[in-house]
Amino acid sequence: MKISKDRIAVSVLAGVVLVLFFATIAGLFYYRSMIRSLDEVQEEAYAEYTRLYAYIAEDPESKISNRIYKEISEYAQENGCYVEMTGQNLSTTYSKADRIDIAISSKVDGIILEGDNSEETADLVRKASSKGIPVVTVLSDCVSSPRKSYIGLNNYSLGKEYGIALGHIAQEKKVDSLSVLILTDNDEGNYDDVIRTGIQEYAVGRSIELESSVVDTSTPFTSQEDVMTILDNMEQIPDVIICLNERTSESAYQCIVDKNLVGKTTVLGYYDSDTILKAIDKGSVYATFSIQSRYVAEQCVNALNGYIETGFVSEYLSSDYILINKENLTTYIAGGDKNEG
C-alpha cells in the first residue's frame, strides 16, 4: 500500500516535471521569437523603384504644387518610378535654383520643374541636360532652356477664360460696365502677364475697366497684408477682383469678408482649395480656375519615361483649366472625392 502511494507520488511529480519541461521548451521558443521580433521593430518595409525623378516646385509650400506632386508621385509609383520633392524634409529651406542643383548633384533620372523665365533656371536646365538629366516643365514653362517638354497650361487662353467669366458677371449683375482689379504676384518669370494680356484682349471693346496690382507673395505672411493695403488704398472698391494665384485668392476672399464687402465685390480666383470652394458655395467668390492635376501628373511622368525610353517627346503637351462656379461646385466636389477615393 505504501509502495503504491509512493508510486502515485512519483508519477504525479514526473507528470509535473514533464509539464514544466514542456513549459520551459515553449518558453525558450517564445523567448527566441521575442528576440527575433526585435528585428522587425528596426526594419521598415519599403518598395524599390527603377527610376527617380525630382519635382522642383516654385513654392514647395503651395497647395497646387503639393497637389500636383501628390498626383505625380502616385502615378509614377504606379509606373515603377519614384518622385521626390527635392528640398523637402530638409533642415534648411533652399531656393529653387539650389533645389535644381541638388537634384542634378544627386543624379536623379529626370526633373519635373515648375519653370520660369529666369536665366538662372535656364542655365540649370542646361546643366542638367549636359549631365544627361532630362527636364520637363509643368504649370509654367522655361522657354529659353533646353527642357524636353512643357506640360502646358495655356495662360493666354486662361486670360480669355477670365474675360469670359467677367462677361458672365456683368450679365448677372446686369451692369454695363465693370471695374476689375487684377492681382498678380512678383515672382520672376511667371506668366501672370500673359494671363493679363488675355484678359485685356477680351476687355477690348467692352466696358471693362482693368486695373492691376502686384501682391508681394515672397513670404507666406505678406500676401494677405498686401491685398488689404491695396484695397484700402483704392478709392472705389472694384466690382471684380481677379487673383492669379492660390494664396492671393484666399487673401482677397479673406479681405472682402473682413471689410464686409461681400455682395459689393466678388472674386475670380485661382486653384480649388477648400477655403475657396467654401467661398464659392457662400457666394463670396464668383468662380475659380483649377487645373486637371491628375492629367497633368500623368503627362509629366509619361513625358519623362517616354524621353528616357525613346529619346523623343513632344515639346508641348497641353492641358486645360476647369472653371468651378456655384453651378458645377457640387458635381466637382463629388468628382474630386470620387477621384480621391
Binding site: 518558453g27 525558450l28 528585428d39 519599403y46 523603384y49 521626390e84 524634409n89 533652399y94 544627386s106 543624379k107
Partner: protein, 492 residues
C-alpha cells in the same frame, strides 16, 4: 528500458547522472538565454550605428573639403595627402550607403547623399586637375561648386541624421521595452526550469534512497518482531542497494530456515530422549523380573552342570539333555544384557524352552517350526519370540487335552520383511483382550514372564512405532501373532 538501465546503474553513477542532467538543463537554458540576450544587446548597440556612420561621413567630408581647400590655396602636399586619404575613405563609406530608389525617405536621402558625394568627388578631382593646370577660373568655379555640394551634403546628412535619430530613438525605446519583456520572460523560464530541476532531483534521488528507506524499515521490523512473520523485500534495481536487498532477503530466508531446523531438531531430540527412557525402563523391568526369578544364576548353572555330570556318570542320557537345556535357557536369560541379538539365538532359546516344557508336561506340547535359514543372522531385539511361545503354551493350549496342543513357529521372508509367526491351536483370545494388548492397556503378566505387552512396547520403540506387531485370534481357532522385522542395512 531506460528506467531499468538507470535502476541498474551504480549509486555513484546515478548521483553523477542526476547532477549532470540537472546541471546540463540549467546550463542549456542559461546558454540559450545568454546567447539570445547578447543578440538583443547587439541589436540595441546597432540602433544608433547609422547615426554614428553619418557623423563619421560628415567628419570625413569636412576633412576632405579642408584638404581640397588647403591644396587649392597652397598646393601643399600634406593637404593633397589629406584629400586623397579622405577621398579613399569616402569611397569606402559611400559603398555602405543605399543606392536604390525607394519610397523610404531615409533610404532615398542616403541615395541622394551617395550620388552627391560622387558628384562632389568628381568635381573636386576636376578642381585639382585644374589647379595642376593652373587654370584659376576653372578650379575656382569647381571649388565653388564643391562648396555648394558640401553645403547640400551637410544639410542632407544633418537632416537624415535627425530623421534617423528620431527613428532610431523610437526603435531604441521599442527595443528596451521589448528587452524588459524578455527579461521578465527569461526570469520566468529560469524559475520554471529551476523548479523542474528541483523536482527532477527529488524524483531521482528518492528513487535511489527509497529502497534504502524500505530496507531500513524492514530491518526495524525484523528487530521488533519474529523474523518468520516478515515478508521479503521486493528488489527494484540491480545497484548496490538492490544487491544489499537481495542479500538481506537471502539472510531472512536463511534465518527462517535455521529457526525451522532448530525447532525440528529440538522436537526430534526430545522424542528420542523420551523413547530411550521408555526403552530403558522396559528393559530394566524385564531384567529385574528375570533377576528376581533367578536368585543366583551362576550358582544354579554350576549346580545344574554338576547334576548333568552326575546323570552322565549314571548313564541317564535324557536327564543330561534336560539339565543342559535348562542350563542353556537360564544362561541365555542371564547373559543377554545387550539390546539386540541374532534371530538364530532367539530360536535356540525357543527350542530350549519347548524341550523344558515338554519334559515338564511329559511331551504334551506339539511344537512345529518352519525356518528360512537365510534369515538366521537378522538382528532383532532380544527376548521377543520366547515370550510369545510361552504365552501360547500358558494360555493358548492350556485347556486342551494332553497331546492335542500344538505351537507353530514359522520364520519366512515377505517382501522386504522378515516375518516371525507364532501360532497355536488353542481356545483363542478374546477380541477385547487383543484390543487391550494392541492399545497397551493390558498390564504385564503377573506370572513372572516377560509378557506380550512388554514385547510389543519394545518393538514399537525399537522400530519407531512401525506396526511390526500383529495379533489375530478367533474363538477356538487359536491365536496367531506375527512380528514383521524390516530388513534394513543395520539389522542384517
Amino acid at each position: 528500458m531506460k528506467a531499468n538501465f538507470f535502476a541498474n546503474m551504480k549509486i555513484s553513477r546515478k548521483l553523477v547522472a542526476v547532477f549532470l542532467v540537472t546541471s546540463l538543463v540549467a546550463m542549456g537554458v542559461n546558454i540559450f538565454i545568454y546567447l539570445n540576450l547578447n543578440q538583443a544587446l547587439a541589436k540595441i548597440d546597432s540602433v544608433f550605428s547609422s547615426n554614428i556612420s553619418l557623423n563619421e561621413l560628415s567628419d570625413n567630408l569636412n576633412q576632405l573639403h579642408s584638404g581640397l581647400t588647403g591644396y587649392l590655396e597652397t598646393k601643399g602636399t600634406d593637404n593633397l595627402e589629406l584629400y586623397y586619404a579622405s577621398s579613399q575613405k569616402m569611397n569606402d563609406m559611400m559603398r555602405q550607403l543605399n543606392d536604390d530608389v525607394t519610397d523610404n525617405n531615409v533610404k532615398l536621402s542616403e541615395r541622394d547623399i551617395r550620388n552627391m558625394l560622387s558628384t562632389y568627388l568628381k568635381t573636386a578631382d576636376e578642381a585639382i586637375q585644374a589647379k595642376r593646370g593652373r587654370n584659376i577660373d576653372e578650379y575656382t568655379e569647381k571649388y565653388n561648386e564643391c562648396s555648394k555640394i558640401k553645403d547640400y551634403l551637410n544639410t542632407y546628412i544633418y537632416s537624415v541624421n535627425n530623421e534617423q535619430f528620431r527613428t532610431n530613438s523610437e526603435n531604441y525605446m521599442a527595443l528596451t521595452k521589448s528587452l524588459r519583456y524578455t527579461e521578465v520572460m527569461s526570469l520566468l523560464i529560469f524559475a520554471v526550469s529551476s523548479v523542474m530541476n528541483v523536482l527532477l532531483i527529488i524524483i531521482l534521488t528518492s528513487s535511489i534512497t527509497r529502497p534504502l528507506t524500505l530496507l531500513s524499515a524492514k530491518a526495524d521490523e525484523i528487530s521488533q518482531e519474529s523474523p518468520e512473520n516478515v515478508e521479503p523485500l521486493e528488489v527494484y534495481s540491480e545497484d548496490e542497494v538492490g544487491k544489499v536487498t537481495r542479500a538481506f532477503n537471502e539472510m531472512l530466508t536463511s534465518i527462517k530456515d535455521y529457526i525451522a531446523r532448530i525447532r525440528t531438531q529440538l522436537i526430534t531430540q526430545s522424542e528420542m530422549k523420551e523413547k530411550n527412557l521408555l526403552m530403558e525402563t522396559h528393559l530394566k523391568d524385564a531384567q529385574l523380573k528375570y533377576l528376581q526369578s533367578q536368585i543366583n544364576p551362576h550358582f544354579l548353572f554350576n549346580t545344574l552342570n554338576a547334576g548333568a555330570q552326575l546323570a552322565m556318570m549314571e548313564g541317564a542320557d535324557r536327564t543330561v539333555e534336560y539339565i543342559r537345556n535348562m542350563a542353556d535357557f537360564f544362561r541365555y536369560n542371564v547373559k543377554k544384557n545387550s539390546d539386540t541379538v541374532r534371530l538364530g539365538e532367539e530360536l535356540e532359546l525357543v527350542d530350549s524352552y519347548i524341550y523344558i516344557m515338554n519334559v515338564r508336561f511329559a511331551g504334551e506340547i506339539l511344537f512345529e517350526k518352519d525356518i528360512d535359514e537365510s534369515l538366521l543372522d537378522v538382528i532383532v531385539p532380544s527376548m521377543i519370540i520366547q515370550p510369545l511361545v510361552e504365552n501360547s503354551v500358558k494360555y493358548g493350549i492350556k485347556d486342551l487335552e494332553p497331546g492335542e496342543g500344538k505351537v507353530t513357529l514359522v520364520v519366512y521372508r515377505e517382501g522386504n520383511c522378515c516375518c516371525i509367526r507364532v501360532s497355536d491351536n488353542g481356545i483363542g483370545t478374546d477380541e477385547e483382550i487383543i484390543a487391550k494388548i494392541m492399545n497397551h492397556e493390558k498390564k504385564p503378566s503377573e506370572t513372572g514372564g516377560v509378557g506380550i505387552t512388554n514385547v510389543m512396547t519394545r518393538l514399537d520403540l525399537f522400530y519407531n512405532n512401525k506396526e511390526v506387531f500383529e495379533m489375530k485370534s478367533h474363538k477356538n481357532e487359536g491365536t496367531h501373532i506375527t512380528i514383521k522385522i524390516p530388513l534394513e542395512d543395520g539389522n542384517v
